[in-house]
């Protein structure tokens, strides 16, 4: 070795040892950095990370509540829940979704709509949620799935409760239906209320009482691993079942009305005049709400949309019709209140002309030479148009409008289902707003409920109920009571007062009611056919509303005129006349004469309500049938 070994050795030792000291210093520094970092994470940031750790491992899984049931006033089930087997996928647990779906397609039937629905959920919902791929699995499909399950990781069978309307198309106009929560729904609702819930009321009572029916989701806190698979349940807050609804609606009236209407387009609304309870709420043709629950197929929906009878139009709520002669009792009462002498007569030659005009407004009996000399009573019983043309001119349009407004025409009734339309009470101001003048002839035809005036069947029934109950109005209510599903305690909803007609002299009302009973009981009355033989006293008024202006000279033969040009048949009635318990409005589109076509339908509805049940159909009132699938 070169140099002096000892000197080199000492020098080398010193150098090496000094370097070791530097290394020790560096190590000390680096270790302090690590210790500092770890101490920071474990003391100062500990809470933050502890929370993250818990959030990692504890997953709240919502438990859907049982939706409240809906019964008619006698406990007939109108909406219930029944268990269905669903095939669901937790996307987080799936490695290859395409492969899984194609495998599942071999085991169960998956149509394009199922897949579309699933992919939509996949985009919108968190991937640790269980997403429904197929509903209503058959037992055979469930068995096939169970056998193949080991290789179908991520897919599970679940039993879910699905809405079912056992009466099918009955009462859809009032009930509405539920459907899957849509994108437009999610914008409005608070998602916290809908944890684990798939359905939401879309129409009718299902929509307006959504908050009552829905109930509260429960939460199951489960420990999950990183794949989102539940390891064990830590905590469980049970769901609270939605409350049940008892409707004022009576399934017997409802089906009586629907059967009476048959395949004709029309609407029937029956109201208990004493409290505004809606006893029947019919729009025909109807449709089966069950097909909407899981999303209606495109073809079925197209068929409903393309149907010229427009089944999806809720005629009772949103149909707008000329009231025709059913407007007469209201105008008559208004005139009496204004001082009209009921005994004052007017001569009906079959037509009416305004002074200084040659235009003839015909009476419906113009061919027989008119009604001759009539007073108010005769004009209502025989529905003399000329008398009311004259009356309208005397009242003037403003007075007519205020009479109609008093009875709630042209305004929403405030019924407890969403989407109500209001009718139209035309006024010179309304026309002026459209840049048009008011012609005197329009006032004339207002006297017989023609022209621009429009009412909804609900408005008409509501006004009839006011007439029946001495002018006292209520907001129509479809729901009668709410039942706590656990305690079975019924809470009756209080009737909600509506507008009440201020009547100065009750005798005026009595006169009109008397006239209306004669419409039905007098052989000359236009409603004689429908009710003269009823075991209770009916007050009614027919209406036959033109839908198209017929040439004055043309003869009107209902049987010969093309159906869509025929008059709308209208009828209003209440009974028993002395102490009314039901008020009805019936409209049959293009039905023809009101007294002959709409009247008998009103009669059947009142019979169903006022007459004792035929023994076979007896349904113990006030004793609800055992509700299926209650929350337990």
């Amino acid at each position: 070795m070169p140099g002096t070994p000892i000197k080199d050795y000492l020098r080398e030792s010193r150098l090496f040892n000094s370097r070791i000291l530097v290394v020790v210093a560096i190590i000390t520094f680096l270790v302090l950095v690590l210790i500092g970092r770890l101490a920071y994470l474990q003391t100062i940031d500990h809470k933050y990370y502890a929370t993250l750790s818990n959030e990692n491992s504890i997953n709240p899984v919502p438990i859907a509540p049982v939706r409240g049931l809906i019964f008619d006033r006698n406990g007939v089930v109108l909406a219930e829940n029944y268990p269905v087997l669903t095939l669901e996928i937790v996307p987080n647990q799936v490695k290859n979704m395409k492969a899984l779906l194609s495998e599942l397609g071999k085991v169960v039937t998956l149509n394009p709509r199922d897949l579309r629905n699933f992919y939509r959920q996949l985009r919108e919902k968190p991937h640790f949620d269980s997403l429904v791929l197929r509903n209503n699995l058959t037992e055979e499909e469930a068995d096939r799935f169970a056998v193949q399950r080991y290789k179908l990781t991520g897919a599970e069978l679940h039993a879910r409760l699905e809405r079912y309307y056992p009466q099918g198309a009955l009462a859809v106009a009032a009930l509405g239906y539920v459907g899957r929560i849509s994108e437009s729904n999610t914008k409005v609702i608070d998602n916290a209320d809908y944890r684990g819930i798939e359905y939401i009321g879309k129409l009718g009572v299902e929509a307006s009482y959504e908050n009552v029916l829905r109930g509260q989701s429960g939460i199951k806190k489960v420990e999950v691993n990183a794949e989102g698979r539940a390891i064990r349940t830590l905590d469980r807050i049970p769901p609270v079942a939605g409350e049940n609804l008892y409707l004022n609606l009576d399934a017997r009236l409802q089906s009586a009305a629907e059967q009476a209407l048959g395949d004709r387009r029309g609407a029937v609304v029956a109201i208990d005049p004493r409290n505004g309870g809606v006893l029947a709420f019919v729009s025909t043709p109807s449709y089966d709400p069950n097909q909407f629950v899981d999303g209606i197929s495109t073809t079925a929906y197209k068929a409903l949309m393309d149907n010229t009878d427009r089944p999806l139009l809720n005629r009772a709520l949103d149909g707008r019709y000329a009231p025709g002669s059913t407007i007469k009792p209201f105008l008559g009462l208004g005139a009496l209140e204004g001082g009209l002498n009921p005994n004052k007569t007017y001569y009906c030659p079959g037509w009416y002309s305004l002074p200084g005009s040659t235009h003839r407004f015909h009476c419906w009996r113009w061919r027989e030479g008119g009604h001759g000399v009539v007073d108010l009573h005769d004009a209502i019983v025989e529905s003399c148009d000329v008398y009311f043309y004259n009356l309208a001119v005397h009242l003037g349009i403003n007075r007519i409008d205020s009479i109609l407004n008093e009875f709630g025409f042209g305004a929403r009734t405030g019924v407890d289902v969403p989407g109500e339309f209001r009718g139209l009470v035309p006024s010179p101001a309304w026309k002026a707003a459209h840049g048009l003048p008011w012609y005197p002839g329009e006032t004339v035809i207002m006297g017989v409920g023609q022209g621009a005036v429009l009412v909804t069947p609900l408005e008409l029934a509501n006004a009839t109920a006011m007439l029946a109950d001495k002018g006292v109005g209520f907001q129509p209510r479809i729901v009668r009571a709410i039942e706590n599903p656990t305690t079975r305690v019924l809470t009756y909803l209080k009737p909600v007062p509506g507008h009440t007609v201020a009547l100065s002299n009750m005798n005026d009302l009595k006169d009109i009611v008397h006239d209306m009973t004669d419409v039905v009981s007098s052989p000359r009355g236009t409603g004689y056919v429908m009710g003269h033989d009823a075991p209770y006293k009916i007050a009614g008024k027919s209406g036959t509303a033109q839908v198209k202006d017929m040439p004055a000279s043309a003869s009107y033969n209902a049987k010969k005129v093309a159906e869509n040009l025929r008059d709308n048949a209208v009828f209003i009635a209440f009974a028993p006349a002395g102490n009314p318990r039901i008020a009805v409005a019936v409209i049959v589109e293009h039905g023809g004469f009101g007294g002959e076509v709409a009247g008998p339908i009103a009669r059947k509805v009142m019979d169903a309500y006022l007459l004792p049940d035929p023994p076979a159909l007896a349904n113990a009132p006030g004793h609800p049938r055992q509700a299926p699938h209650h929350a337990g």
């Binding site: 370097r19 070791i20 950095v33 210790i35 474990q42 003391t43 990370y49 502890a50 750790s53 390891i231």
Partner: protein, 360 residues
């Protein structure tokens, strides 16, 4: 001369290593989800490791010194071979399949590099002349580049580190060190340009783990959650929810320290640090007491390599360093690294127990 001496075993170091192994086994038992098959394999490997330690300790330092260039050359050959015929795992070509066993030739370099440089610099007295430093640097770069090409940046960095520590301990002048640092700083952009996309991503992730929480940031975030949620006292043994519910990736291998931190808290960490620092300190002491240039540099280099493992792993788990595949020495589950480390400790013991007893 007691029994320990006769078997060339340094008692304090051996006991500390044994204690660390036992602690490691408890942690691994929890981290693996109480997987007993894995524990059996791990125990066998540790046993093999200790056997290798004892075996290597019997080899005289002079023999080690003589073998040094050959071991280094052998490692180089294997590194070339692995690039040519190695098997690919997770996109990287690191493994050489020898039929019954698969191993990473880079492991040999972890020992071969300090041995080679120590051998080179021991040819003359310290500090090494500039040409030796240049030669040493050139020799060191070959295996480092080969390993980086696999690609295995973590191991390449560790081996680069061990080469640099030997250079530093050898007494490379501060001026040269400064020059190397400047060169490194200038070379960094060049290196960045040659990095794989995932490697760049890992460095970006270090700066902000939340930038890609379910991607490259996931490891770091879940690891920090595990450490932070452990708190001061920890959640207790077998209670690491991060590992048991599979949120923490690689919980048995590279991220096992996170499991330890979650279960034993800061208190446990402090004690574990003491154990590691004792081992490192004892190793440095062995280097301090070493009697010739070769054994000094070898012992110092191996001691610092061990420290780098420790620092890089814990730095990665606690989010101070980027995610590189470096196990926690003697605790992580994993074969070749354990055996390599035990062989290194065998060399340290050989260095310490084969001293000519003149001064002491």
């Amino acid at each position: 001369m007691n029994n320990w001496q006769r078997w060339h075993i340094d008692r304090p170091l051996f006991l500390a290593l044994s204690l660390l192994s036992v602690v490691g086994m408890f942690v691994l038992y929890s981290a693996s989800g109480e997987n007993s098959m894995l524990m059996v394999r791990h125990t066998l490997r540790m046993a093999l490791g200790f056997a290798v330690l004892v075996g290597v300790a019997q080899i005289r330092p002079e023999t080690l010194r003589r073998w040094s260039p050959y071991i280094f050359a052998f490692g180089l050959v294997l590194l070339v071979a692995v690039l040519a015929i190695g098997s690919v795992t997770l996109g990287a070509r690191r493994w050489l399949n020898l039929g019954i066993i698969r191993f990473q030739p880079a492991e040999i370099m972890k020992l071969g590099m300090p041995m080679m440089l120590a051998w080179l610099f021991a040819r003359d007295s310290l500090p090494p002349k500039t040409r030796y430093i240049g030669l040493g640097g050139a020799i060191a770069l070959v295996p480092i580049l080969l390993i980086a090409k696999q690609p295995d940046l973590g191991t390449a960095a560790l081996i680069l580190g061990s080469a640099l520590t030997v250079l530093f301990l050898a007494g490379m002048s501060w001026r040269s060190i400064l020059a190397v640092l400047v060169l490194a700083a200038m070379g960094a952009p060049l290196l960045w340009a040659h990095l794989h996309q995932y490697q760049r991503q890992r460095i970006a992730t270090l700066l902000d783990p939340t930038s890609d929480p379910l991607g490259t940031g996931y490891h770091t975030i879940q690891s920090m959650i595990a450490v932070g949620s452990g708190g001061f006292f920890g959640k207790g043994w077998l209670n690491s929810s991060q590992a048991h519910l599979d949120f923490l990736p690689e919980s048995s291998t590279d991220f096992i320290f996170a499991v330890f931190a979650e279960e034993f808290g800061f208190l446990g960490i402090a004690m574990l640090f003491c154990l590691y620092l004792f081992i490192i300190g004892r190793s440095l002491l062995i280097a301090f007491y070493a009697q010739d240039t070769y054994t000094r540099l070898l012992a110092g280099g191996l001691a610092l390599t061990f420290f780098m493992y420790f620092f890089v792993n814990i730095g990665m788990v606690s989010g101070v360093l980027p995610v590189v595949g470096v196990p926690l020495p003697l605790v992580s589950y994993g074969g070749s690294a354990t055996v390599t480390l035990m062989a290194a400790f065998g060399m340290l013991m050989s260095v310490h127990t084969h001293r000519k007893i003149i001064t002491h």
